[in-house]
Amino acid sequence: MTTMGITADFRLTRPGFTLDAAFTLPGSGISALFGPSGSGKTTLLRCLAGLECSDGSLTVNGARWQGGDAFVPTHQRGVGLVFQEASLFPHLSVRGNLEFGWVRAARQADWDRVIAALDLSPLLERRAPQLSGGERQRVAIARALLAAPKLLLLDEPLSALDAARKAEILPYLAALPRTFELPVVLVTHTIDEVVRLADHLVLLDAGRVLASGPLSATLSRFDLPAVFDDALCVVLDTVVGAIAADGLAELGAGALKLWAPLAAGTIGEARRIRIAARDVSIALSDAADSSILNRLPARVLRLVPATRPAHVLAELDCHGHHLVARLTQRSALQLGLAPGLTVWAQIKSVALA
């Protein structure tokens, strides 16, 4: 009888840093470890890989990797690892790199499927230094997958790439859990990557887990400390309803409709969007003379003091969806905001994930 999911509890002391993190992650999909630099994201990932000797325990989809006296070494875990800068073996060709783990994992992985999924057939005979940054990361991901891992760990896999290369890799990453049916843990310090890729979110600060839960619910929690204040947002899964001649697209989630610029897209396509609390302001009437396009009638559900000084968070109901607005206490007082009040939510920007 196996239990699906990842249960981890790590304790580790380094000079000037203590990691004390217990959390559970779903056994499938992408989980993001998110937090400021120095929060212990990478250390935590290394604990999952068995590269750090921490105290504690770790069970991955029923397999005990650490606990009590047991510590399964990295090479026996079946854990895929992709670093910030691809660490392809420079003495081997792309094919040699890919075969390294494939052969050692008894050729269990479906070679053709992985090569096709990451479009690598034109690159096989090249050497690592001849590849672009994006190509190197694709090879690194394929190399990890071909070793038939039970868990894939990605340590800031996009941060060394420019925007164009990032956009090139993102679809490959997003498709990983579904295509290869394995849990993925992603370390990132970019909220856009979290929203684009993750299903589950762990927020870390100073070596501790501050929150862990499904993406949308965790990002819209009102009790997050000030370091995550700017990350506070609502995530909506929308469908492209129309694309106007001026380049704006209408994104709909039920009755909620928003206009946002869409670089490339087709009608009917699903897009995940993020509305940051700091980008939502409130007016008592519909300010038709404003430059803000997305003005929606909403009802105030509750007001909570923000962790940021002199600010409050307002939770709004808008066509059945929740929005969060961050405004100053003074504004809230001047407008006389109170639960039940009907207002206009002005959404300054919509981030497409």
């Binding site: 590269l51 090479h75 660490s87 050692r104 990890a144 070793a147």
Partner: protein, 221 residues
């Protein structure tokens, strides 16, 4: 040139070859350990390995002679094993040369191992390679330039040794009389013509080795 010279050259080549082979076998795991470990023991070992670089060869030769001599612990052991005494034999010379040239093999290897990005080893472990497999198929190929330097330097340094040979090996024809010792003999006997031939040959050999190494390094990316 006479047979005396050819015999000395042949002996020197044999000594340098055997020494280099043993050194590469001994120095590789030692250099790997020194490059990877942060323990106090490895720091101490690192200092001991480096000693022959700065120690006068006569000091080293003297202690080896005492250790391997009839009254030394190593000497007692080799006699008990029926091997006899090692000083003034080719075997004794090989042992002394290995110790004397150890830093010339260990240091380039240690630097080559240390220069490899640790992520390569972590990536290899994540790709199911055991630590030995990683050493064999990632560390060794990536340290190749270090091996070439270690090989060349060990060989050349053994060819060039003198003090240790004189202390440990003495001056026995075909057994321990290497080129540098023969040169010393000729100078002692005021046979400058023969001395010129040997000195010139050694100088040319050492320069050629170093030049080849420099040219090869210049071609490395």
């Amino acid at each position: 040139m006479n047979t005396e010279i050819w015999s000395a050259i042949w002996l020197t080549t044999r000594l340098a070859t055997v020494t280099t082979v043993i050194l590469l076998i001994v120095a590789t795991p030692l250099a790997w350990w020194l490059a990877r470990s942060r323990s106090v023991a490895s720091r101490v070992a690192g200092a001991v390995v480096t000693l022959p670089l700065i120690l006068p060869p006569t000091v080293l030769g003297f202690y080896l002679l005492v250790l391997m001599g009839a009254n030394g612990p190593v000497g007692a052991l080799t006699q008990a094993m029926g091997l006899g005494l090692l000083p003034f034999t080719f075997t004794g010379l090989v042992i002394a040369s290995v110790i004397y040239s150890l830093p010339f093999a260990v240091q380039p290897l240690q630097q080559a191992f240390a220069a490899i990005d640790a992520r390569h080893f972590e990536a290899a472990a994540s790709l199911r390679a055991t630590p030995f497999d990683t050493f064999r198929h990632v560390a060794l190929p990536l340290a190749r330039p270090g091996f070439i330097t270690a090989l060349v330097m060990s060989f050349a340094h053994t060819v060039g040794e003198f003090g240790v040979v004189l202390m440990m090996g003495g001056n026995i024809p075909r057994e321990t009389r290497v080129v540098s010792v023969l040169l010393y003999d000729h100078v002692e006997a005021l046979e400058y013509a023969q001395a010129h031939w040997l000195a010139g040959a050694l100088l040319l050999f050492c320069f050629a080795v170093l030049l080849t190494l420099q040219l090869w390094r210049g071609r490395q990316p």
